[in-house]
């Protein structure tokens, strides 16, 4: 288990008005393990997309560091940075607006090669066509404009563009959210196939538990810019070890077990990230909150089965953690 990308205490702040800023991502430490699919879930505004952009260096980090195969991305030379850019690619949420409407899709797919100076000039068209063929776009559509393609075809083009530089890490930011269910399954299967074919590591961001559970090896749950729990996907779905994850899972519609398991209804709304609650950010809505939760800041502590939970009462609520605390590597 080697970390391909390691996030260490990463915070991203956006200025709002004068001398005020909002922390979209606050002190997140996370390992992206080579060959695994990491699911990142959380509701709207929890900072998942911002974290993804921080991974690619699209937004500056206020604190902490992102390292790629042991090398700090911020300290990379120009040349290394270019190589890094080609190795980490992103597939965006809206397949339509992610493509330049004035370029044929083959030109769009070719562009990363031009920008990063990959391959011989006259081979780039072939590489682009091969990437488009790999994602299953028929050859007669390669010279179309984006508006002439369907949503699913456009998302295939976006995936082809992300893969044309042969990246090692693919970040999918809600990449199937804009598609209907049948297409979602199609694109998810495609991603699964490509993961093997291209030997990819995938970070998959979604608010859809079903989707994340289906394709992820490991899942990280975010709430208000903080990581609240990480665990292997099957463990997390079975035995969540954070009250927020529990609430999320209970909100999942289940067609098999009607009425089984009571649904946890959270009180109130997600607090404003401009003025996050003190202590545990989840405490105002938590069913198990104690006075201590309002003052003490929880940190991720390792729990059983290699997961980690940022709940002060994790031992009380979900049983004792592992005795050997040195398994932090898996807990991150």
């Amino acid at each position: 288990m080697t970390a391909l990308m390691r996030l260490d205490d990463v915070s991203v702040r956006f200025p709002v008005g004068r001398r005020r800023s909002v922390s979209a991502v606050d002190g997140v430490s996370l390992d992206v393990v080579a060959g695994q699919t990491l699911g990142l879930i959380g509701e709207s505004g929890s900072g998942k997309s911002t974290l993804a952009r921080a991974m690619l260096g699209l937004v500056p980090t206020a604190t902490g560091s992102v390292s790629w195969m042991g090398e700090d991305v911020a300290a990379m030379s120009r040349q290394r940075r270019r190589a890094f850019t080609g190795e980490v690619q992103m597939v965006f949420q809206d397949p339509h607006s992610a493509l330049d409407p004035r370029r044929r899709v083959r030109q769009s797919v070719r562009e990363p090669l031009d920008v990063l100076g990959r391959g011989a000039r006259d081979e780039r068209d072939d590489l682009a066509r091969r990437a488009l063929a790999d994602v299953g776009l028929p050859a007669h559509l390669h010279d179309r404009y984006p508006h002439q393609l369907s949503g699913g075809q456009k998302q295939r083009v976006n995936i082809a563009r992300a893969l044309v530089t042969r990246p090692r890490l693919l970040v999918c930011d809600e990449s199937v959210a804009a598609l209907d269910v049948a297409l979602q399954a199609e694109i998810l299967n495609l991603l699964g196939d490509l993961k093997d074919e291209y030997d990819l590591t995938v970070v998959f961001i979604s608010h859809d538990l079903g989707v994340v559970g289906h394709i992820s090896d490991r899942v990280a749950v975010m709430y208000l810019g903080k990581l609240v729990e990480t665990a292997m996907a099957d463990v997390l779905l079975d035995t969540p070890r954070h009250p927020y994850t529990e609430a999320l899972l209970s909100a999942r519609p289940d067609v098999n077990e009607t009425g089984a398991g009571e649904r946890i209804i959270l009180r109130g709304d997600v607090p404003s990230p401009l003025a996050p609650p003190t202590g545990c950010r989840f405490h105002p809505r938590c069913l198990h909150a104690t006075p201590a939760c309002a003052t003490d800041l929880p940190v991720l502590v390792p729990v059983e089965d290699g997961g980690a939970s940022a709940c002060l009462r994790v031992a009380e609520l979900y049983g004792p953690g592992p005795v050997d605390t040195s398994v932090m590597g898996g807990a991150r």
Partner: protein, 285 residues
């Protein structure tokens, strides 16, 4: 609908909608204007400044199809030569507005921050003046001359171009395809501005250019009418108007002809501008 059903073998193909007669007429007017600009010397029956004081203020005849003015000069020849002067003057003004305004608009819209704030406040100041009055002021200060006058008009038109470009750039800069491009390292003028920003910004600007040329033509006529633009004896649409205004009752022809030329050209530019905007829409391809 029965006709479509009776012909099932015909594949439904998308054809461009029929262009109306108005659009063809507008293209025709602009082509005619372009031909006159290029070939005024060949087309004009007389020299534009050649006086013949024995035949002043004549009506239309075989020798002078549009009559003569108060100094016996052939109105048709003056109109043809004046077209060249007026059109080139308008193009100069719009050219200045575009060359200065378009890059500034892209800069302000894409970079934002303090360069945007400073530039916009400066342009607000320029825009606060009534356009023609500012042009008159600048020309009066620098001396009446068509080049100065049209540079002044260009200055007046620049904020219009900047504002439009800036607004469009801001809309484009927020699009995901710009973020996507930067996700694989595209930045700077060559990789970001030219391939992604400019092509998506340019469409409404092109339409606006046609409108601006119309405005500049009218500005040329107005300034020349006030003796601040084209100087006599050079012919332009504005100077012909100014001269014949004095003799309106005796020779109405020479005031209507340049007036009609201005009106028709501006009309054609507006129609063609709209059409070009439609043609540039990527969804049409």
């Amino acid at each position: 609908m029965s006709t479509t059903l009776s012909k099932p073998a015909r594949k439904p193909t998308r054809t461009a909608p029929r262009r109306s007669a108005v659009i063809w007429l507008s293209y025709g007017i602009l082509v005619a204007v372009a031909v006159v600009v290029l070939l005024a010397d060949v087309l004009a029956p007389h020299a534009p400044n050649q006086q013949d004081l024995t035949s002043v203020l004549l009506g239309p005849s075989a020798e002078h199809p549009l009559g003569t003015d108060d100094l016996g000069r052939d109105v048709l020849s003056r109109l043809l030569h004046g077209t060249r002067v007026s059109i080139l003057a308008a193009l100069l003004a719009v050219g200045i507005a575009l060359v200065v305004g378009f890059p500034l608009g892209i800069l302000a819209g894409y970079v934002g921050g303090w360069p945007d704030a400073v530039l916009m406040r400066l342009l607000d100041t320029v825009m606060a003046f009534p356009a023609l009055v500012l042009a008159i002021g600048i020309t009066a200060m620098l001396g009446p001359d068509i080049t100065t006058a049209m540079v002044a008009v260009g200055v007046v038109l620049t904020p219009v171009v900047v504002r439009l470009t800036r607004a469009q750039t801001m809309a484009v800069a927020g699009q995901t395809y710009i973020e996507a491009a930067s996700s694989f390292g595209a930045r700077g003028v060559r990789r970001m501005i030219l391939p992604h920003v400019v092509p998506n910004v340019v469409q409404p600007i092109v339409a606006q250019v046609a409108v601006l040329i119309g405005f500049a033509l009218i500005a040329e006529a107005s300034l020349s009418f006030l003796q601040l633009g084209v100087q006599p004896p050079t012919a332009s649409w504005g100077t012909i108007l100014a001269r014949s205004y004095t003799f309106l009752e005796r020779a109405p022809m020479s005031i209507f002809v340049p007036g009609a030329a201005i009106a028709l050209t501006v009309f054609a530019l507006n129609i063609v501008g709209e059409e070009v905007q439609r043609l540039l829409d990527p969804r049409r391809r």
